[in-house]
Amino acid sequence: MDLSWMAWTWQTATFFVVIALLLAGMRVWEWAQPGGAPRHGVLGLDTTRGDRLFISLLSAAYIHLGWLAATAAPLWWATVLSVVFAAAVFRWV
């Protein structure tokens, strides 16, 4: 199958592979350590693990966009910030 029309780059391919791995990882986590049932978090929302992953990913996108809009500093710092934020989401939301 010729995929050249999709104009792949290794950067974007890595991005999608990481997302796929995250989804697979969530499955393994639930299988190894069940506990994905909804719980009541600090935002007053009942969230499952999947919800928290979604919130983390969506926030990561906005953190990166905000970083690009606000500063010219390297984008990696936004990625670090997103990971910290995601950890907080998984811990408290």
Binding site: W8, T9, F16
Partner: protein, 288 residues
Amino acid sequence: MNKTWNNGAWFMVLPVLLIVALNAVVPLMTVVNYSVQETFGDNLFFFEGARWFRDVLASERFHASLGRQFVFTGIILAIEIPLGVAIALAMPRGGIWASVCLVLMALPLLIPWNVVGAMWNIFALPDIGLLGYGLNWLGFDYNFTRQPLSAWFTVVLMDVWHWTSLVVLLAYAGLRSIDDSYYQAARIDGASRWAVFRFIQLPKLKHVLTIAFLLRFMDSFMIYTEPFVLTGGGPGNTTTFLSIDLVKAALGEFNLGIAAAMSLIYFLMTLLVCWLFYTLMMQGSEKS
């Protein structure tokens, strides 16, 4: 709860998943790929990193069309939701007239977007259209091809004409599903018409109105065909909403990188709003 969990049924969803993968995920991935590259055609791409995102986020043009988009969506929601509820309340509860009203209400919804745009274009022309000619005859200086205010008035009026029916139908269905005993209790308590609306009808309509709000928000946020056919985004850029601007960048100027970055930002906004509404709706329904 001692239910047996069998996730085998999920395999039945596989065909749908495949179709969605082909018509949504693959194009979306391609857009992500475009958004980090520059191309001059001929399938030649050059990596540019986050440059297009920076450009779009700093672009006056993007801010302007985004602002217009929010103003437009805000205006039509502020008109269509209350108007839709008011019409639904005024409609007969049963009998032949209820059916007549429902059919009349459903008619605008059946007309394709481009036809609506073309209809309103002719309808609003100042020299031959009924609306345009009528307004000028009444003494208003109205010309939607030249005056931004007239253009906005026409676009908003067109959307209200086309889509208020959707809110009406949803609200009407919601009103019909309210049990008669609530009204009887209200009558015994001597509740006023306003109190009946405020404490019985409105709370019971909460869910359908959330759905109506969500549908109208998304639809108006993505609106393209009607204003494009009616005004083409003009006069100047005054009715160039986000999607019209996006198509201009992608197909008019062939700025695939900029257009891809714009669509992803657009997509993220839609995703956030959908998630917010969905969460609020689900949390609300669990509590009640």
